[in-house]
Amino acid sequence: MSMTYLDNAATSFPKPEETYVFMDQFYRTHGVNPGRSGYDLCMETGQLVDDTRKLLARFFNGTDSDRLIFAYNSTDALNLALLGMLSSGDHAITTTVEHNSVLRPLYHLSQHAGVEVDHVPFDANGFVDPDALAARFKPTTRVVAVNHASNVIGTVQPIAEIGRRCREHGIRLVVDASQTAGKIPIDVQAMNVDVLAFTGHKSLMGPTGIGGLYVQEGVEIRQLRAGGTGVRSAQRAHLVEYPWRLEYGTPNVLGIAGLNAGLKWIEKTGLAAIDAHEMRLMRRLVDGLHEVPNVSLYCQDSLDNHIAVMAFNLDGFEAGNTGTILDVDHNIACRTGLHCAPMVHEQLGLDKIHGAVRFGIGPFNTDDDITAAIGAVGEIAAVRAKKMTRTRG
C-alpha cells in the first residue's frame, strides 16, 4: 500500500521533479561560495542567488529585490524581524491563531526585553476582526504580527484590512506567510504588509533550510548578528545595507537553488490552478468527513477565505491515537497534537484533549488520496462506535 501524504502543512512532499533535478544539477556544477570571489563560476552562483531574490520579490510584488532577505525558515526570519523591530517599552499585538514562530519570539521579548504583548482572539469561524485588533492599539504599539493563514484551521486572515488600520496609526505589520506563500497570491503593497516572512519548504516547493523576509522600503530592522558578507571585508562593523544587513555568512546555495526551481514550477503551473486543485480536494474532504458520525471539524463551516488545511477529531478518541491508526493501518501521513500553535487549541478547548488531527493538502494530492482519507476516518469511527455500543451494552 503506497503512502497517502496529507502532511503538506508541515512540509510539501513530494517536491516537483524540477526541484530535485535542478538542486542536484546546480550543486554539482555550481557548488561554490557566491559573492566571495571573481571567477566565473562564483559569479554564476551569485547570479542564481540574485535571480532568486528578484523572482521572490516579484512574486510578492515587492519593489526592491535587495530587500528580499534569505534566512533558514520562517521562524528564523520572524526572529530577525520581531527582535529587530521591538524594544523595551514597546507594545506588540498578535493573535491567538499564531504559530510558535510568532508566539515564542514575542514571549521572549515580553520576558527579557520589556515588550508588552497582547493576543487578539479569533472569532467563531477562525477569523481575526481587524477592528477588534485595532481596538488594542496604544501610543506605544509598534508592531502587529499576524499569521496570513492558520496552520491548524486554514483560515486566511484579512491582512489588507489589518494593514490599512496599521498604516493609519503608523504601526508596522509583520505577516507570517508560512502557509500561504505559494498557495494564494501575496501582494505586499496592496495588502499593506511592512515585513513578510516566508519559508521555502512548504508551498514554495523548495527544500527545508531556506526561507526569508521581504522588508518594505522605509522599514528598518536592527541587525542582531554580524559576520561575513563577502563585501567590504575591511569594514569593522556589519554592513547596514540590505540584503547584507540581515544576512550573515555563506548563504544556503543549495536551498536557494531548490527554491528557484520551486518558484519556477509554481509560475509555470499557476497559483490559481494550484489553489483551485487543492480547494476542490479540500471541499471533498470536508464534505466527506462531515458525513462521518462522531467527527468534529473546527472552523470549516465555510471554505471561503481558507487554504487546504483542516483539523478534526473523532469524539472521545485522542488525536494521537487516531493519527497512529491512520499511519499504521491505513498508511496515511498526517500530524496530530497542538501543531506548534497552542493558543488555537486553547481557544477551541482542544488543549485538554491533546489537540487535533490535521490534514494538509498539497498540489500532488489526488482524488484517490481524499477517498482513502475519508474511508480511513470512517472505518476508525465505525470501530469506535461499535466499541462504545458494546461498552454501553
Binding site: 497512529t324 491508526i325 472505518e379 476508525i380 470501530v383 466499541k387
Partner: protein
C-alpha cells in the same frame, strides 16, 4: 515510589501506573493490571498481544515499534485499541509488565 492495590495484591508502580518490578510479572499480574484497562476477561487475543510484547521486551529490552507489533501479530492497530482502550503503549504494555515506552509502541 507509588503503590497500587489490585485484586488484593499490592504492586510498586511509576507515576503512570506501570509495574516497577518486571521480575514478578506473571499471568495473574497481567490479569490484575488488565483491570486498570477495564478488562475483566483476558481473551486469547489479549494474550497474543501481551505475550508478544513480553517476549520482545525480554529479548531486546525495549518495546517494539507499533508497526512491528501489528505486522508480527497480524492485528490491525484499530483492533489493538479495541482490545486495550488506552492503546498499545499505555494499555497493552502496562498489562504486559513493561516499563512505560518512551516512543516505540
Amino acid at each position: 515510589m507509588a503503590t497500587i492495590e489490585l485484586n488484593g495484591r499490592t504492586y510498586t508502580v511509576d507515576e503512570n501506573g506501570f509495574l516497577q518490578e518486571p521480575e514478578i510479572w506473571n499471568d495473574d499480574v497481567a490479569r490484575d493490571f488488565a483491570t486498570t484497562e477495564g478488562i475483566t476477561d483476558m481473551t486469547d487475543e489479549h494474550w497474543v498481544l501481551v505475550r508478544y510484547l513480553r517476549d520482545y521486551y525480554l529479548k531486546y529490552g525495549i518495546a517494539p515499534m507499533v508497526r512491528k507489533l501489528c505486522k508480527e501479530t497480524g492485528f490491525r492497530l484499530a483492533q489493538v485499541y479495541d482490545l486495550f482502550p488506552s492503546g498499545p503503549a499505555n494499555g497493552a504494555c502496562k498489562v504486559a509488565g513493561l516499563p512505560k515506552p518512551t516512543g516505540c509502541v
